[in-house]
């Protein structure tokens, strides 16, 4: 990396704290900082709560409180991000936990059923890596949607149709997966070469649906 790039990266990481409202704005900030190509650490402080500290280089974070114990609509989140030298020690004691757990929780809840602002209505999505679902709270609908996204490029309406879910549900998983860096996003209108079959949607007679009913999942 040239020093100019380094300077750019440092400056986009920002200096003093930014104050934002709600998890949605926090997610935008996480999304922006998470794509910076140098090691960055981030600290999110919700008033009257212990800080959440992220080590993007190692994809880990540390927080003494589980995410669901933070307010749903925090009035003020103070966010500091800092570019650090490669190989710097983690910004918290211990080894932390997998960052995906935090990003999944933030992504699923932050925008409720609306689109994250970095996603566009004309986008198509394809999975680029499977989330480790045994470590993430999930429903069978999320597994089915993820499998669909793994099979081809899909638009939001196609994802809803294929998995028989509401727009809100589909949007939540797109928000979360893209925040985790697990989606390939292509913009524009061009249709992909592989498309969903017309009768693809509702498959209660399919093995997935039957097994799900049988196991009560």
């Amino acid at each position: 990396m040239t020093s100019a790039e380094w300077d750019y990266a440092r400056s986009s990481a920002g200096e003093g704290p930014r104050y934002v409202t709600g998890w949605g704005n926090s997610a935008v900030e996480i999304h922006r900082v998470g794509t910076i190509p140098v090691p960055v650490t981030m600290r999110l402080e919700v008033a009257d709560h212990p800080p959440i500290v992220i080590d993007f280089a190692r994809r880990t974070y540390s927080a003494t409180l589980p995410f669901d114990r933070y307010p749903i609509h925090p009035g003020s989140v103070a966010i500091t991000a800092e570019a650090v030298a490669p190989g710097s020690p983690a910004p918290f004691p211990g080894i932390g936990v997998q960052l995906d757990g935090l990003l999944w929780a933030v992504g699923i809840t932050a925008f409720e059923g609306s689109a994250a602002p970095w996603l566009r209505p004309s986008d198509r999505y394809r999975l680029s890596r499977w989330p480790n679902f045994t470590e993430l709270p999930h429903t069978m609908d999320y597994i089915r949607m993820t499998a669909l996204l793994g099979a081809g490029f899909l638009s939001l309406p196609e994802l809803c149709a294929g998995a028989s879910v509401s727009v809100g549900q589909a949007q939540r998983i797109l928000n979360a997966l893209s925040l985790m860096g697990g989606l390939q996003v292509v913009g524009g209108v061009e249709e992909p070469t592989m498309v969903l079959r017309q009768d693809a949607a509702d498959q209660p007679r399919g093995l997935f649906g039957r097994l799900r009913a049988r196991l009560g999942l």
Binding site: R59, L127, S128, R129, W130, N132, F133, T134, E135, H138, M140, I143, R144, T146, A147, L148, G150, A151, G152, G162, E191, P192, T193, M194, V195, L196, R197, A200, Q203, G206, L207, F208, R210, L211, R212, R214, L215, L217
Partner: protein
């Protein structure tokens, strides 16, 4: 009546028999023999033919769960068992020698199943050996098979809910593959060309 055969593969001691015991609704048919290779897997018994378990869907249908013997000297059983399988749950224990190498080895061994059906990978015994990570496995698989995105989960085969998540992921993957078709170009597009 459709055949729903799911194969559990992976090296000796990965947890295949344990996983089938957790998922099966019937008493599992086991073929355990006294293990003389305690240095490879420190456990009393090892599978020498197959494991067989079932999840009953209705009067007509069941999901059949077959476990292979993990040791290569039983690979004739692998050949027999993989023929009817629709998909495979590959379990690899993280405390094995070169666990990523073992995962790639088993994927190659069952490549046809990988091509025709689906595969999910469960990394076991992470409480004993926390690394390598899911990301390390994914990176190695991306080199070996760049065209496929394989679900890789950390699992404890003794946990039923985790094994169900793994199984449902495999079934979802197999089924959604059949939901896509080649797009037929619209008339305007053909005219434009």
């Amino acid at each position: 009546m459709a055949e729903h055969v799911i194969l559990f593969t992976g090296p000796m001691g990965a947890g295949k028999t344990t996983a089938i015991e957790k998922l099966s609704e019937i008493d599992v048919v086991r073929t355990e023999a006294a293990n003389t290779e305690r240095q490879v897997a420190d456990k009393a018994t090892t599978t020498v033919a197959l494991d067989y378990g079932e999840i009953v869907l209705d009067d007509q249908d069941k999901v059949r769960l077959y476990g292979i013997p993990g040791q290569r000297r039983f690979d004739f059983m692998w050949t027999i068992l993989k023929e009817r399988a629709k998909g495979m749950v590959l379990l690899v224990h993280n405390d094995a020698d070169d666990p990523i190498g073992r995962a790639v080895e088993y994927l190659d061994e069952f490549a046809d199943l990988y091509a025709k059906g689906g595969v999910v990978i469960g990394i076991t015994r992470i409480d004993i050996a926390p690394g390598p990570s899911v990301t390390d496995y994914a990176a190695a698989l991306a080199v070996a098979h760049p065209d496929k995105i394989v679900p890789i989960y950390t699992v404890d085969p003794r946990q039923r809910d985790q094994m169900r998540t793994l199984l449902m992921t495999l079934v979802a993957n197999i089924e959604t593959r059949d939901m896509f078709v080649e797009r037929v170009p619209q008339r305007e597009e053909l005219v434009a060309e």
